[in-house]
Symmetry: C2
Subunit: 345 residues, 2 copies
């Protein structure tokens, strides 16, 4: 009992972090370097909540629920493989916390239609997918639904890339408006935790790595798949012979070296040789494969382990969802009280 109490006190002092993903596909090295590694670090210092946003994933995959369903377990395996500790981080499933929907409804009076249309995510996705008035409502309002994810655990911090800062600002705005309107100090205004931006280009040289672009190296890729992909990465298209001077800038092989090869001296030496036409593409790639494989092998192995304990991981996530549901129930009830929606007293 004394121990439990102590643990509770410690948890109380830890700041809360909310982060997560939509379960729409397996994670790739872009996710690993862009967010997951960061989360693994943060789980030590913070009370971390990691949402598997399956309801939001359905908002643009509603006609393919099987895809979303399968990718929940894939995502859990990826998390486990990367070192997310399910005993430390609260990995939970959005659909198991219906209080999020309720909180969203309460917040929706403080968001405007304009605010959504100006949301950078919706703007970008509308531009990409050519979305218009036939946009499903669920997809249209998901930026506001996201604010409910954050507020349902009263998160202190949200780790985001620069492009997602407006989403956190929007959350702060709604929390502030709610508190002001009902003269309460209830909803926590979260801060953005903007880390160093790590951009991982696709193997084809595209700025972003993505499933739909078919240019990703997945954490679940076998050694053989990794090798194949590494040897296919975009280098300098104008370099025909190994003796031609080559370009290092925009050369994915070197960009990956910069990201994965900790021997910077070796990398700089190879770049120099490449520029002078003193090294073959194949050599650079062979070296790259070795360093990437070294970093990815333990993840791959842990992922195979995870595959065998999918059911267990899911059960842990459901358990955490109950914990989150309790926290969210508390938040929703306090909001109801502020809005004079409580009938118990």
């Amino acid at each position: 009992m004394g121990y439990k109490l102590l643990e509770y006190v410690v948890m109380e002092n830890k700041k809360r972090i909310l982060t997560g993903d939509r379960p729409t596909g397996r994670l790739h090295i872009g996710h690993l370097l862009g967010s997951i590694n960061n989360r693994v670090r943060l789980q030590e210092e913070y009370e971390e909540f990691v949402i598997v946003a399956n309801i939001q994933a359905l908002s643009d995959n509603f006609d393919n629920p099987g895809k979303v369903r399968e990718n929940i377990e894939e995502l859990l395996c990826d998390y486990y493989a990367c070192g997310l500790d399910f005993n430390k981080a609260n990995v939970f499933i959005q659909s198991e916390v219906p209080e999020i929907h309720e909180i969203f409804i309460y917040l929706s009076n403080f968001a405007t239609v304009q605010q959504i249309q100006h949301n950078p995510t919706i703007k970008t996705e509308m531009a990409q997918k050519g979305i218009n008035l036939s946009t499903p409502l669920g997809f249209f309002f998901y930026p506001i639904h996201q604010t409910a994810d954050i507020l349902c655990v009263n998160a202190d911090l949200v780790p985001v890339g620069k492009d997602q800062v407006p989403m956190v600002e929007s959350t702060r705005d709604l929390a502030r408006k709610f508190n002001k309107t009902y003269k309460v100090n209830l909803l926590h205004e979260p801060d953005s935790l903007v880390g160093t931006e790590v951009n991982v280009p696709g193997i084809d040289g595209a700025e972003k790595m993505g499933k739909s672009l078919n240019n990703a190296i997945y954490l679940s890729d076998s050694e053989e798949e990794l090798r194949k992909k590494v040897f296919k990465v975009y280098t300098d298209p104008n370099r025909i012979h190994a003796t031609d001077p080559g370009k290092v800038e925009g050369n994915v092989a070197f960009m990956y070296h910069d990201l994965f090869n900790s021997n910077t001296e070796e990398v700089e030496k190879m770049k120099d040789m490449y520029r002078k036409g003193n090294i073959k593409d194949m050599e650079v790639k062979e070296k790259l494969f070795l360093v990437m494989n070294e970093k990815l092998t333990p993840i791959r192995e842990r992922r195979l382990e995870a595959e065998k304990m999918k059911g267990e991981l899911l059960a842990r996530a459901i358990e955490s969802s109950k914990k989150v549901s309790n926290i969210a129930r508390g938040v929703a009830d306090s909001m109801k009280e502020a809005m004079l929606l409580n009938f118990k007293n």
Copy 2:
């Protein structure tokens, strides 16, 4: 036990009706003749659900939660006064059924932004209130939230005025799309139950009676207030002397006679005399006051009775909300199963 079972079977055979109001003000004679009397009749034949839509009321009154809170009890008193039997009709409070919000989220993938903008209610209200991009999101999507009210109890019928038929159509549409997408026969497509339209003009001759128009006769009005209002009703503004021939068309005194005076022979005779300048306005109004007071006195008396049992009525509504919450939980769980969001099996 045998009795209970029998009751259950009977209930199962009864068709379900969903109807209700936003608790934003006391009810007036327009509500009485337009919908409440109808509900009192329907409670005998159907399994009736009457929603007190306080969450939707907040969507355009979010900065005045006290108004919505107070009007819940006022509405319950009005219902009781008009003869809604809380043992027959399931009068429930929207905020006590959070499953509605969840069901709304599941439905929202099947509604489009366009569909909302074309919704007749939103259109009218946007025209009336000059709403634009600064429209709160909660108000913007409430026509779709309403469909969740209907579907959460799998209603068979929705009593509506002609102008609300598109809302029921929208509900049918969402139910159909959901069922089709997930290859289930789950959500019930409700039918509109369009009764004879009863339009009650305001005492000032305006087409509609409304609180904001300050032209309403409330069910809670005292006999004295009723008398004052009846003697103020709009008649023929061009008639100066009782001997002037008067116009019966658009004359509120005669419109109310048509609605409240069951002695049609007397009414026709008065109309004839009025046209010929053989009857004073005062006489017509005195007669009108008598017949209206006769109809409204029992309601007024029951309302005074209801005032004393507000707490009891609220408790009954909360009890019914629990019943509805259970039904809605079942619907939401079936929807989750269809969307592969169930993790229990």
